[in-house]
Subunit: 73 residues, 2 copies
């Protein structure tokens, strides 16, 4: 159980990192004026974070599919 809680804790941080990055980038675009180049760069970084998030969520879903769990309480 401790091991699984550890995995859950780790996953929540692995998921939260690209999400926090995404949110920061959205605020960056919202709060300041940017040149077309800067805008492009920020949007590219957003896509990278979103793809990372997608990958992490896929991995979690896959491991849930392949591992069998039972609920103790």
């Amino acid at each position: 159980n401790e091991k699984l809680n550890e995995i859950a804790w780790m996953q929540s941080h692995v998921v939260r990192a690209p999400l926090a990055s995404l949110m920061g980038l959205i605020h960056l675009l919202k709060d300041e004026e940017h040149s077309a180049e800067e805008k492009e760069e920020i949007l590219d970084k957003m896509l990278i974070s979103a793809n990372e998030l997608d990958l992490v969520i896929r991995e979690i879903t896959n491991s849930a599919d392949t591992t069998e769990y039972s609920i103790d309480s």
Copy 2:
């Protein structure tokens, strides 16, 4: 186990919905020219999706903390 797989499947869809929305909005900003108002609107929608995603991930993490699991295989 079936029940838990069902939860995992559901969660992956609940998480993927705002993520898909976010990715669509990023592409929208990237691929087209927008007025300042449109841009603002898209960015606000992005923030809503990002917050939704954050909330969903928090809920999943919380339920992992309060429910005890053991690994069967």
